[in-house]
């Protein structure tokens, strides 16, 4: 098509690469390069200032000898599983209810979803006030006549992580609902009609046809929620500050505290690497199995 290649033509062919270049360079340096950099820091004895002499696995040994890190991991297990389960169950329930030809569906949906527009800091601030035992929910129920009612999770070591679950689920359920609702709307009507003709009841239709066909939505919701859980930082900072003590610490708050408040750069880097490893270990197999499943039908 083009008889001669002048300088302008070369420029024209190179242009797409030139346009994409800065972004790729950014990704290469600020994502991949920085991961390697953090990995290197995690193999050093850096404290207040970064040092680059290789020191082996000392930081990882220190990390897994640290009681606080174990608390953070245990909390991640509790928070992650409950948060994901609550969001999935409530989200699916809301989506199914909303899918019953509801008047004002759009309005209700908007109410369930608005917490997603808020910062976790705002959510945390609001729930911190609601859950505080002095003047919050506990006080309200006591005023109603139940004088020995106690609900002080937020200030009780060992229970404060459950307070984080409440606030986290409140914020993210609407989003899961929206995903499920979109999934429900995408199901082929004819299968359901056929089942109805065969005399299957509604519960049966949901259990054997509709919910199984939402499998891909379950997967994406699971990946997103797992991702939110592992990265959770702001919510804990605003709701409990990791406290009482460090009883509601998560890996992300642990990393922040040690890397930036306690001048333990090496240990912070090691915990950050463990977070990355966790995300890779959770998400990659899930995505792999799901894409494989889709390919083989």
């Amino acid at each position: 098509m083009r008889p001669r290649k002048g300088l302008a033509d070369y420029f024209e062919t190179a242009l797409p690469k030139i346009v994409l270049g800065p972004t790729l360079l950014c990704a290469l340096i600020f994502v991949y390069g920085f991961i390697l950099w953090t990995a290197w820091l995690s193999f050093t004895e850096s404290r207040l200032l970064p040092r680059y002499e290789f020191a082996g696995l000392v930081q990882y040994f220190a990390l897994f000898a640290n009681e606080r890190w174990w608390t953070a991991l245990r909390n991640l297990g509790i928070f992650g599983s409950l948060f994901i389960a609550l969001c999935l169950v409530t989200g699916l329930l809301l989506a199914i209810l909303l899918d019953q030809r509801i008047r004002a569906e759009g309005f209700l949906r908007a109410i369930y979803l608005y917490p997603m527009a808020l910062s976790f800091i705002v959510t945390g601030t609001a729930w911190r006030w609601i859950l505080n035992p002095g003047l919050g929910f506990e006080h309200l129920v006591r005023q109603l006549g139940f004088e020995h009612f106690t609900f002080d999770w937020i200030v009780t070591p060992g229970m404060s992580i459950y307070a984080v679950v409440i606030a986290g689920a409140w914020q993210s359920t609407g989003f899961v609902m929206a995903l499920f609702l979109a999934g429900l709307r995408g199901i082929d009507d004819s299968i359901i009609k056929a089942a109805q003709v065969d005399g299957a009841g509604q519960v049966r239709i949901y259990r054997s046809i509709i919910i199984p066909s939402l499998r891909p939505v379950f997967f994406s919701a699971l990946i997103i929620l797992g991702h939110i859980a592992i990265k959770s930082f702001d919510l804990v900072m605003a709701l409990t500050g990791g406290g009482p003590g460090f009883s509601s610490d998560l890996p992300a708050t642990f990393m922040y505290t040690f890397a930036f408040n306690r001048n333990q750069i090496g240990l912070g880097a090691a915990s950050a690497m463990m977070m990355l490893v966790t995300i890779v270990a959770v998400i990659v197999p899930m995505m792999y199995s799901e894409t494989r499943r889709q390919r083989h039908g």
Partner: protein, 293 residues
């Protein structure tokens, strides 16, 4: 799917309908409750808060807490409220959103209309940036911002948010442009139209829906960010989310819940406003960002 299955008699069906609506309304009340509590608490006086309870309406409406949250609340030794931090947020969110959206649009355009050998691999490499926990880049970035001379500054925050927002914005535009028929640009190319001409004349006029989705997504993400704000800025330069958290965690003096709540609403207003005005696009961004390619 939205059809009711008319297999039951009227009586049980009516009960079913009532049950469904009751559940939906109860859930709606639950989701609205924190917002209600925030608004009413922010309009109460401290005496009113102590005398009443969580869901009681204010006995008299007072805007003192709002005034204080905006212009007089203390965190540490500084008593200027959140207005400076609110403006900080505006000052870095707006440029960061514009730049990341613009670059994302061009990237998406290249990745769909001007593919070259290896461009799909590069896209995948870029996409992984959506998944990493940012903790893994914080320490090197803190040092790099120092070297660049933009530590603890508005340009520094713009830089960080643009760099880590590009993966998302590129994804948005790429997934949108994939649906544009290739013939459209092929014909233009045969007519001799170049890279930028095609972009301005053909692609950009098709783009308003995805631009809105992308801008809303980026705005919400960056405005609500706490991690970068708390790590890369301090004192008067902090964004609103960080200032709110400091205010709430200030332990000196009497705990002023009304001021805390007013401050929280101030921090939430811009994104709530966007949600109310453009909820449809907000949802589209969530699901597009969620499904990730």
């Amino acid at each position: 799917m939205a059809e009711p299955y008319r297999t039951q008699t009227v009586g049980p069906q009516l009960i079913g309908r009532v049950a469904i609506y009751t559940l939906l309304i109860l859930f709606a009340l639950y989701y609205l409750m924190p917002l209600f509590v925030m608004v009413t608490t922010s309009l109460k006086t401290l005496d009113d808060i102590r005398a009443g309870n969580l869901v009681a309406l204010p006995r008299e409406i007072s805007f003192d807490a709002w005034m204080k949250a905006w212009g007089g609340a203390c965190t540490g030794v500084f008593c200027g409220g959140l207005k400076g931090n609110f403006m900080n947020s505006v000052n870095f969110v707006v440029p960061a959103v514009i730049i990341s959206t613009l670059v994302g649009a061009f990237n998406g355009y290249v990745l769909t209309m001007w593919r070259f050998k290896g461009s799909d691999v590069l896209f995948t490499l870029l996409l992984i940036g959506c998944f990493i926990p940012f903790q893994v880049v914080l320490l090197p970035m803190a040092q790099t911002l120092g070297w660049l001379g933009i530590a603890n500054s508005i340009p520094g925050l713009i830089f960080v948010h643009v760099v880590y927002g590009l993966a998302f914005t590129t994804l948005f535009f790429r997934n949108f442009y994939v649906t544009v028929p290739a013939e459209l640009t092929k014909a233009a190319r045969i007519d001799g139209a170049g890279f930028f001409t095609i972009f301005w004349r053909i692609i950009l006029p098709l783009s308003p829906p995805i631009i809105v989705v992308c801008v809303i997504w980026q705005f919400t993400q960056i405005w609500n960010d706490f991690l970068f704000g708390v790590v890369f800025s301090s004192g008067q330069r902090q964004p609103i989310t960080v200032a709110l958290n400091n205010l709430v965690n200030t332990s000196t003096g009497v705990k002023e819940y009304n001021v805390d709540m007013a401050a929280a609403i101030i921090a939430a207003l811009p994104t709530l406003f966007v949600y109310v005005v453009a909820g449809k696009y907000f949802l589209r961004g969530l699901t597009a960002g969620a499904v990730k390619g």
